[in-house]
């Protein structure tokens, strides 16, 4: 495990590994969390992702990147896959793959959009839709490490039914504040009118810029650019804002 974070070890170079599905749970009508057993998994950092490769009987292969949703736990790796209607890979993973089935996976990869428990700065997580996945890994690693770093999560989704990771996110983690922003249909009794993320939302649910928080923004391209621009307009240092966009065709 300790070898995972050491760069430059040629013996640990990236290679495809066989991953076997051990369980799954539906997060919403459109998204499923898949838990794989990956023998030899070297561990990962919160926010890293994996490449998944599917090979058809005729040898045709399709490859996609998915963020890891789980904190490191032995050889288990959880991914949350949102079904893209005309996608090649996501409908197979989310609808067809059964417990015991195998796919190929390599990783972990990516060292920029990561949170390390050693970083003492307060953290602002801004999620748009399925962009919650790597941010959930950060919350889970925070909990697993017993960290007391204060976190705030601002989570924008269309309707309450689109929330992932319920009830885990409803469970009160000391030091973690969660705010939902609904863009189409609000929860009953919610005070905020539906609408896209605004400077006022980030002002009330985020951190003041002079707290110098580490900001992580993940979601579709338009959401990420809007949220990052709002953070800069509120005075956050662009170098403290890390972004990860989901391509519109992730499928």
């Amino acid at each position: 495990m300790a070898r995972a974070a050491v760069p430059g070890r040629l013996a640990e170079r990236l290679r495809w590994r066989v991953a076997r599905l051990v369980s799954f749970v539906d997060e919403t009508e459109a998204a499923r969390t898949l838990v794989f057993d990956v023998p030899g998994w070297p561990g990962h950092l919160a926010g890293q992702h994996v490449d998944v490769r599917l090979t058809a009987e005729d040898g045709y292969t399709a490859q996609r990147s998915y963020s890891v949703a789980s904190a490191p736990a032995g050889s288990q790796v959880a991914l949350t896959v949102q079904r893209v209607a005309d996608g090649e890979v996501s409908p197979y993973l989310a609808d067809v793959l059964e417990v015991g089935d195998q796919i190929e996976l390599r990783g972990p990869v990516g060292g920029w959009f990561v949170w390390r428990p050693e970083d003492p700065a307060p953290v602002l997580l801004v999620a748009g839709g399925s962009g919650i996945v790597p941010l959930m890994a950060m919350l889970r690693v925070r909990r697993a490490a017993g960290s007391r770093v204060p976190f705030r999560l601002v989570y924008s989704i269309r309707t309450p039914r689109d929330r992932y990771y319920q009830p885990e996110l409803r469970h009160d983690d000391p030091g973690v504040d969660v705010t939902y922003l609904y863009t189409r249909t609000a929860a009953p009794g919610g005070g905020r009118p539906v609408g896209r993320i605004s400077a006022a939302d980030l002002q009330s649910a985020g951190w003041p810029a002079d707290f110098e928080p580490a900001c992580y923004v993940c979601g579709p391209t338009g959401f990420v650019e809007a949220a990052a621009d709002l953070l800069v307009s509120l005075g956050h240092d662009p170098s403290r804002i890390r972004t990860e966009r989901f391509g519109p065709t992730g499928g």
Binding site: P7, R13, D51, G107, V109, G247
Partner: protein, 95 residues
């Protein structure tokens, strides 16, 4: 639609896996400088177009092609013509 075409990109984080086949350390954390406009920033923040043959990474500021990668069956072809330099964060040098 032009608008859709212009929007069909991912970000430099998508380069992490393919480039990990080549580099010994994570390249998406490296800071690159664009040859066209001189902007510096993390490779993770480039705009990556994956619908070309291979991957084409463009500067988020000026759209100049910074990096191209094509993975063939028995080789990888990496074109860095739009990159002045890459600065990699590393732990202190070992003895």
């Amino acid at each position: 639609m032009t608008y859709e075409l212009a929007e069909r990109y991912e970000d430099g984080n998508a380069l992490a896996g393919p480039l990990a086949e080549i580099f010994a350390v994570d390249i998406t954390s490296a800071t690159g400088r664009c040859t066209a406009c001189g902007t510096t920033g993390p490779v993770a923040a480039l705009r990556v177009y994956v619908h070309a043959p291979g991957m084409v990474a463009r500067c988020a500021e000026c759209d100049h092609v910074v990096l191209r990668l094509v993975r063939g069956p028995d080789s990888a072809w990496l074109d860095l013509r739009g990159t002045v330099s890459l600065r990699f964060p590393l732990p202190p040098a070992a003895d």
